[in-house]
Symmetry: C2
Subunit: 360 residues, 2 copies
């Protein structure tokens, strides 16, 4: 078995020790004589798994006591519907900030359920920076403010938290939650599809402040009602049990490695290595404004046309895989989530340097 360095934007690389533990426990979890996949979600074994997962996530993010953690299904995309269905009734039309593919989709879906304002945005062809705070036009009576704090496709990341006063701030953190410390108390609701930094696809984590529960529209499908999920401990029906188990192993891996402060340093180092090389190179460019560059998703283009396929083939031959850029942008993209070791980034930079020497 040879493991590759996997730069996929998601589903993405998982820590090898997590996969090894899941492998060892596949037919028999802790002497239960069965796989986690085979356990009743109402039984004591799975009860232990989900309780530990929640407690560990609470520890990692120092989640305040007045926030609930929900383990749901349908990915961040289903939250694009659930958020307006739960929160729109709380005030005036919500404010959306559009900075890339995902915040655009969230805006469009919210419009299905009522009026929506665009409080700030970058143009569709140029999602290469965060709109400066001075340009934001926020409505103090809005039901909530929604933004995507890391745009996976465009590689644009907020390195600051908007201050929305009394209006609940809602953040899609799918592709950078757990990449570093976070002050949860600044937010009304945080959500993240698991398949980037957390675990397998099919799980989405919602962290929601108590006072935002209970306002779902009568037309909200029962399973999308946050209060119903919170009251039932994420189990009004059968949750994605195996995905929750893997996410729990990832949380334990993070805690064992020193928590979010340690992973924050590692992510800084990885991103600096790649961006510094790109900026000093003659062949590669990254289109994003330097202060708004994502540590997690690094799109890069080759200055000479026609080399992309050759670059990707050479990378794959060295075990550097899933580097092709998103279809809407072209070029390349390297995702450097928590599970990507520094060795992977070093191997990528080394290959990029050699390729530049040959083709630059």
């Amino acid at each position: 078995m040879t493991r590759v360095h996997n730069f996929s934007a998601g589903p993405a690389a998982l820590p090898e020790v997590v996969l090894a533990q899941a492998q060892a426990e596949m037919l028999d979890w802790e002497g239960a004589g069965m796989s986690v996949m085979e356990m009743s979600h109402r039984g004591r074994e799975f009860g232990q798994i989900i309780s530990e997962a929640e407690a560990d996530l609470r520890t990692l993010l120092a989640v305040p006591g007045n926030y609930r953690i929900l383990f749901l299904q349908g990915g961040a995309t289903l939250q694009f519907s659930a958020i307006p269905l739960n929160l729109m009734g709380r005030g005036g039309a919500p404010d959306y900030v559009v900075t890339g593919e995902w915040s655009s989709k969230a805006l469009k879906e919210a419009g299905r359920f009522g009026s929506v304002n665009v409080a700030a945005s970058t143009p569709a062809g140029a999602h290469d920076h965060v709109p400066p705070w001075g340009e934001w036009r926020l409505d103090p009576a809005a039901a909530y403010v929604h933004y995507c704090s890391n745009e996976t496709v465009h590689g644009v990341e907020f390195h600051w938290v908007p201050e929305t006063g009394g209006v609940p701030l809602v953040a899609d953190m799918s592709s950078h939650l757990l990449s570093g410390p976070l002050d949860v108390s600044r937010f009304g609701l945080i959500y993240a599809g698991a398949q980037k930094n957390i675990g397998p696809a099919g799980l989405v984590i919602v962290i929601v402040r108590d006072d935002l529960l209970g306002g779902a529209s009568p037309q909200c499908p029962g399973l999308l009602d946050y209060k119903l999920n919170a009251d039932a401990g994420s189990m009004p029906n059968t949750p994605a049990t195996y995905s929750i188990y893997i996410a729990g192993l990832v949380f334990k891996w993070l805690l064992a490695g020193g928590g979010l402060t340690a992973i924050d340093r590692a992510n800084d180092e990885k991103a600096r290595l790649l961006y510094d090389f790109i900026d000093s190179s003659t062949l590669y460019t990254n289109p994003v404004a330097i202060p708004d560059r994502s540590r997690m998703n690094v799109p890069f283009m080759l200055r000479r046309p026609g080399l992309d396929d050759g670059f990707l083939a050479g990378a794959e031959a060295r075990g550097l895989v899933q580097l092709r850029g998103h279809r809407s942008l072209g070029g390349m993209r390297a995702s450097l989530y928590n599970a990507m070791p520094i060795e992977g980034v070093r191997a990528l930079v080394e290959y990029m340097r050699e390729f530049q020497t040959q083709h630059g």
Copy 2:
């Protein structure tokens, strides 16, 4: 490692060979150098996995060409919302048939989105039979007819298919899909949560006739729109990739074992063994009318009070686990899904016989 006999109603036992293959491939799927959990859902490897899963399911059930197969999230429960949101606009108030816990929940959720008729039902305290066909009051102008063809909690199974003429028949088959051959062409839509006979929780399979696509209400969350999912090959967003992979392995296991005709015979034999023993015993009873008994879920009660905990403890000591009945019914329940080998049922009957001798 000692594997137990797992009688859970769901999540439930999976074939040991499937788990063993998943274990072997956990860190490296077919030389890709990564786990299936780590693969981009847009990559060629996962493309192969989902295509084969769909093709194998199509073969198993002989799904006609004018039906689409969707691999979705949120379990059968989210379909309780999706079905009215997609189909209600097609005609008059839909007809619901209520025969237990799950069809009751489906009825309640549908009522959120419009008027609903109860075409036939059994009383809440006595879900112990299928309402005779002569008692059904179907509206020929109804948008659809909904029923649950196997009630997991109450152990009531339809061994016949209602004839609804031109009105689309919609069936929740969560707990018995793939337990035997099925004439898909009798149905407008079939759905099934995976965590009983198919794979891990977090996946729901929908088989829907072409002409029922495209009628979603404007208030239907995008991700619940069947047409959008069908057009995107179940991937408008990231699907539950690992669950689809495991389901695909289960489909291959069924095909290798002789398909649904072979598993049908095995399920007959297992159910007969247990029901024959219960009916001939002095200590055990099953409340369901004989023609309507489920082959998959067998609730049984002890005639003498106060013995349940002792029965369950003794069973667990022999590796016969997850036999406690649903909280709404009490007593015991043995689920005999496809993955339960006849040896498991033999071991259960042997234990029940001994327990009866000691306590009868």
